[in-house]
Point group: C2
Chain length 326, copies 2
């Protein structure tokens, strides 16, 4: 059995917990939190909860840690620190800073003789794998990634910071017409042409809806380059209809093969998820398994999803996979 520890018990941490409990070859040996451990209530009462400081002070009973903190401030510090002592998997998703994060984690993991897999999850993660397949098999082609329909946590948070907003949820919606064009090999679409944004807002008492809507729609980086619709709803409607965290998306690659580029070829990958954090946790669990196996093979250092043979994600042996699945 693979002994798994979970670091950070937010939505993704609970997703990872649920996925580990679903895995026949894994046992959850601890949840590590910055909160008061007594305030954390795991799905199974017998799962021990430790302060996160335990990990560096003592030797925790784990083969791999699933790091479920945030990319802005938690993981840049936590992943290299913990990689000095443990095999670790994270979901670092700040695309522009991946090379720097990789270098830090690689140095720590090599020094500690551990293995680390960073930037798992679905984007980066599964979608990176799909972009890789698309560009490698169809080099003479075009393609694009679309997100949604689904809730963007970052955009929801940005709206909540607008004065007069009590609560908010932002849905990213891919534009069907643009997806159809990308499938046919067209490219060069703007942000506005690719996605629309739908915002559901609960106002604070006395707030001016017109001002709030204007501030949202013109917000730089988050909304000004998109067509955004703002809906005002009650707190009861928010709780009843917008509590879930669905998400999904598409990776489309359209290429031309043949000496005269006469053969169109389309590769498309789609996700439709009732719960973004549950699916992210499930991917982390599978890469936790792969991380342990890489380490068992004697491999150390940092890996991305592109460096891991995918067969290592399965609880089945390579021999069983050749028999049943290839």
């Amino acid at each position: 059995m693979i002994r798994v520890g979970i670091v950070g018990y937010g939505n993704v941490g609970r997703g990872a917990e649920s996925a580990v409990l679903q895995s026949e070859d894994m046992v959850l040996t601890g949840i590590f939190t910055r909160r008061d451990p007594a305030s954390v209530h795991p799905l199974r009462a017998e799962t021990p909860v430790f302060p996160v400081s335990f990990l560096m002070e003592q030797e925790a009973d784990v083969d791999v840690l699933l790091l479920c903190g945030g990319s802005a401030t938690d993981l840049p510090v936590q992943t290299p620190e913990l990689a000095q002592r443990y095999c670790v998997v994270d979901t670092f998703d700040t695309h522009a800073r991946i090379p720097e994060h990789f270098a830090n984690v690689d140095a720590a993991a090599k020094a500690g003789k551990t293995a680390a897999v960073i930037s798992t999850g679905w984007d980066p993660g599964l979608f990176s794998l799909m972009r890789l397949l698309g560009t490698s098999i169809l080099p003479d082609g075009t393609g694009d990634t679309f997100w949604g329909p689904g809730v963007s946590q970052g955009h929801s948070d940005a709206v909540r910071r607008v004065e007069g907003v009590a609560d908010a949820r932002q849905y990213t919606i891919p534009v069907q017409k643009t997806m159809s064009a990308v499938r046919k090999g067209e490219s060069g679409f703007t942000a506005r042409e690719k996605h629309t944004r739908e915002v559901y807002v609960v106002l604070k008492e006395g707030a001016d809806p017109q001002r709030v809507a204007r501030e949202i729609i013109t917000m730089p980086n988050y909304f000004d380059e998109y067509d955004t619709t703002v809906h005002f709803i009650s707190a009861e409607e928010m709780a009843a209809e917008h509590a879930a965290m669905p998400h999904g998306g598409f990776v489309i690659r359209s290429g031309k093969l043949g000496e005269a580029r006469q053969y169109a070829s389309l590769m498309e990958f789609k996700l439709e998820l009732d719960s973004n954090p549950m699916f992210t946790g499930a991917i982390m669990a599978a890469f936790g398994r792969a991380c342990c196996r890489l380490h068992e093979q004697g491999q150390t250092g940092c890996f991305t999803v592109l460096d891991v043979p995918l067969g290592l994600l399965s609880p089945l042996s390579a021999q069983e996979l050749r028999k049943k699945l290839v």
Copy 2:
């Protein structure tokens, strides 16, 4: 530059040739054929053509061979034989015999200190990778593979063997209603519920269409478990409308996450190909690149697509991939 040789110059061989010519980091150093080399006309006149016997008699100027023969009789002999001397990639697609083929090729490649990647292409191959991701990330789930709409070479050949048939083309069509049900997590469908078959036949003069149709529709293994429609057409219609070899398919995985399995999750991969052999050749070229890199890393023996880190398929370095694509 990676020096590539192509063994076998049928439809897939021409697909591989075209893909190698599209790859900036590859050079096609030879086509190896069982036919008279003078009768083979490569896309570029400067590409040398050799008898296949050259490969075992002399040392060919190649880093990797793409083996484009058939799985029934060519590859079971050719892949292990050539793996003794060269890095090789094949498309062996007899699913039930993959373990045996793997063992033969592995022994030969280890003895010859070469690397071999077997069963590339799209099924087995890309679809194997997708099945692996689906079952590993969503263990509590169901899923299925659908093929088409597209031409099945094997079924077309079977119809051509019926007395009175001058030419034939068989299209496999996935049943939309069943695909929708699989996306929702339903399972246990029969062959008949998953695919229909459409056959276009040119009759020989004097042949009885009723008897031919009956013989096709009741043919064991190939057609008796399916709903099959037979269309009789002229040789001119066959040439004008059925010369292409389109294909494609779907790998669908539907799973439940969360402690009460309350979160539905759908992963779906789709291919739509104007030309099955061109796309197969493109995949072979990418795995040819990966095969050379595994060998450069000092790895020897046999690999399937599940054993190869997918980053090795790209002409970009791991560092560039982390910067641009992850």
